[in-house]
Assembly symmetry: C2
Homo-oligomer: 214 residues x 2
DNA sequence: ATTTCAAATCTTGTATACAAAAATGTTGAC
DNA sequence: GTCAACATTTTTGTATACAAGATTTGAAAT
């Protein structure tokens, strides 16, 4: 992505705040946070700019930085875009994927299966992530790969819990099989559809989850 | 998009630098620029953070900000992603577009035709932009709309010149007709394909342009 | 001439200072 | 009790100050 040699405080702060748990609408108090992190306001404000562009905070001039947790509607929208981005990756990867990557993919999938058998959602999550990253990468379009990764990361907190749904891991597995098959046959359209559906299901599952929590 | 009440210097600077003409690899000297714009380094650096996240500069810790003009390869990649994003917009819009928007679309298209007849690339460019924005909007997914708009803006400087190609305006027009027809028939797949091809052509034209200039 | 090392200079990253806008609190009129 | 006007306090936005890392320069050694 961009310079990840972990250096400036500003960039570290971005991650800290990104991962930190703030409630929607909350104002990020510059002095309080700067004390909390033991830094001055300057690097903090630079981090705010990045967070604002990522859409994690609203930066209202002369008012402050307000965290912006996406609501149900926006989340559905984001999942929809994720589905389309993954579909795009698949479409391109179907034509461009290397034999080696194809092997890696089936390998990752096998480990997913192991995790399913062991009923181990955490491992499943990890191997699933590897599976998808391979496809991003094999799109042969590093700009696309970056964009997909960015959104993927953004959705992480919302995707994670879904594997706890009864039967979700099994379903996800069988969808993976379809994806691998389509990729292997080199059919762009089929691959795109398989991936779009796979991710769209996540959005729907999330929707259900929201409904149950309300 | 985000807070556009045009207020803080930092945000204004972002635009100034975005639009400014810098050559690839050039280092953005903080003191020189701050003198040039008549501001201190603080808001400038905040602007740098935003530019970095947009991919317009590389921010190398303790080294500085270096402008990052996309090379031919990256540009092709970006056009490819633009094509997929527009295809996604079209796919969704085919199911969601309102009658009113459909009218606006044919209207915009009619004006495009007038511009073609008048051999007026500038007007064509403007109306063409309106045409596409309507489709982004009618995807019914404002997150997607934003992402598409962002990349559209980013590619602006590279898209513009292409209309000068002989026959490009005519070709573009007939592609528009296909898009409108597909949308009108409510066929998602067809619409997506029409839009993808339409934008992909731009990438190819650009590729040609690059080749002639080298 | 080339290389090495260190001093000097420049540039960035962060802290602090200050001014102006926004928020808060207080007083007084009605 | 409510509202308005004004004073007070916070808080942001920007400028400046300072320290540490990077770059350049130049002299000495090979």
């Amino acid at each position: 992505m961009d310079q990840r040699l972990a250096d400036t405080i500003a960039q570290d702060l971005e991650e800290l705040i990104f991962d930190g748990t703030f409630s929607d609408g909350e104002r990020l108090d510059e002095v309080k946070l700067s004390e909390q992190f033991g830094v001055s306001r300057t690097p903090l404000r630079e981090a705010f700019q990045r967070l604002a562009l990522s859409g994690l905070v609203d930066l209202i001039p002369r008012r402050g930085a307000f965290v912006r947790q996406p609501g149900p509607v926006e989340l559905m929208e984001m999942f929809e875009v994720m589905a389309e981005l993954e579909a795009a990756c698949g479409r391109l990867a179907a034509l461009r994927i290397s034999d080696e990557a194809m092997k890696d993919l089936t390998d990752a999938n096998a480990r997913c299966q192991e995790a399913v058998d062991a009923v181990d959602p955490d491992t499943y999550y990890l191997e699933n992530e590897r599976f998808h990253k391979i496809i991003y990468n094999q799109s042969g379009n590093s700009f696309l790969e970056q964009e997909a990764s960015k959104l993927h990361r953004r959705l992480k907190p919302f995707r994670r819990q879904q594997l706890r749904f009864r039967g979700r891991m099994d379903q996800s597995m069988s969808e993976h099989e379809n994806i691998v098959r389509a990729l292997d046959s080199g059919n762009p359209e089929e691959t795109a559809n398989a991936l779009r559906d796979h991710v769209a299901v996540q959005g729907e599952k999330f929707h259900n989850l929201m409904a149950t929590l309300k």
